[in-house]
């Protein structure tokens, strides 16, 4: 079974970390990641840029509506995520619109990635997705 661990915190607090604090936390996390990767437990992980950099595609209407800011409704739940490569926001929206055509309803929040740690588990250990 694969799990996703979703990270929640107050971004006003986290993005106010001093350089030293930031480095201390990231250092501890790098160690933890190393241990977990060695045990074959950890796949890709990523850190997102602040919500101020986010754009939301409301796909409950056709054509979908582009809104500034993060997705903030509480009646909908996080169901999954895609990692995409895009040149800029328009390019990313293009991808999102294509996905929206296949799966209308709800919304996609398009948020740039700050740090992306690739999946460093041994390639041989093929992972079954249940």
């Amino acid at each position: 079974m694969q799990y996703a661990i979703l990270c929640y915190h107050d971004e006003g607090h986290v993005w106010s970390w001093s350089k030293e604090e930031e480095e201390a936390v990231m250092g501890r996390l790098a160690e933890a990641r190393g241990r977990l990767t060695a045990r074959g437990k950890l796949g890709a992980s990523l850190r997102l840029l602040p919500t101020t950099a986010a754009t939301t595609l409301r796909k409950s209407q056709d054509p979908p509506l582009v809104i500034d800011g993060p997705f903030a409704e509480t009646k909908e739940q996080l169901l999954g995520l895609y990692l995409i490569d895009a040149n800029d926001l328009d390019d990313a929206l293009e991808v999102a619109r294509e996905l929206a055509k296949a799966n209308p309803g709800g919304a996609y929040e398009i948020r740039p990635i700050a740090v992306y740690n690739v999946d460093a588990r041994a390639a041989a250990a093929s992972v079954e997705i249940v």
Binding site: H13, S16, L49, T52, D68, P112, A114
Partner: protein, 430 residues
Amino acid sequence: MTDVAWIDGAITGARPRAVSALLRYFRDLDVAEEAFQEACLRALKSWPVKGPPRDPTAWLVLVGRNAALDGARRRARDRPLPDEATLSELEDAEVTLAERLDEAHYRDDILRLLFVCCHPDLPDTQQIALALRIVSGLRVGEIARAFLVSEVAMEQRITRAKARVARAGVPFETPNAVDRAERLAAVAAMIYLVFNAGYSALAETARAQLCDEAIRLGRLLLRLFESEPEIMGLLALMLLQHARRAARTDVRGEVVLLEDQDRALWDARLIAEGLALIDKAMRHRQPGPYQIQAAIAALHARPKRTEDTDWAQIDALYASLERLQPSPVVTLNRAVAVAKTRGPAVALDLIAPLEDRLGGYFHYYGAKGALLLQLQRPGEAREAFDRAIALAADPAQAAFIRARLDQLERDAARSDNSAHCVITAPPRAS
């Protein structure tokens, strides 16, 4: 359990919202600040024992408000203090009843708090000091170090600024759309002042951290007004400029021109955030000075190699900035792009009429000298560089021009005038 670093971070993060809510309540900056200080003291006592509250901001607002009211009542009736246990039980009861307030709820409060710091009567330095003290919560000593003045002098500066704000009266009515737009523009300008104060410090001094504070304030403002393209532009501009900090000076502390900077030293994460924001802003098709400047910075940041910079596009953006916000400094900056696309002679013609207004401006003669050098007119170039040195604001600027002069001498010896150097003026909007 709850460690001090966490409490410190939570208090820093909560500060703008909490102080601005207390300001709405008490309508007095000093009372609001004291109430917040008192709430912080109590948080340091209570949180390690009882664990952190669900909503630190709401906790600090309620506890601060009650503490200030108790203080006022005590002073009024001169009655004895209630004991500590009674007090903290009271606090807990109220805090559990507190509604969870989201950021939008605090929107006009925070805008008001930022806005009182940029009263037009306050000189730039006082606006910056006040915002750093009240909104960011920097200690007076830290602000004093950033501005290289004594703590006593900074304390006086802040006290004077506060007195002036108090005389002017804090605007408490809920702003209408026009007022809100005006406040937003004033606050954006003040945040950019904070940024520039930090940006002008080349070395990693106490002053340089003002850039981080300005970016933090920019993010705060954008979270409140998430569809304002100029606020996206302002934040993008600050992020893209700040991303180059480590590359702006060499090991000897001397200035490195944008085109000579080691791109590996640029902060990729800040650039990613800046680019994402300018993309968002441009979709609104409501250009403004911050967006245009950010778009220019983005054109410098986007290409992998300096030689791939789109100078024609930069020229066009400076031309629209000139129309929107005419200023000889903008024209001077545009000349840099013009020199790249249409040659140094055209650029020199463009800046020649600016000499009257920029006759006391270091960057004018630096740029003029560079263009003359490209045009193989070393005598006039030397003259311009000499004037630039005379106008240099600090030793780093002077050293930078002296290096060009030395280059000139060496080139003269080898009769090779291929030296290229263009000086970009600092990022201030005007």
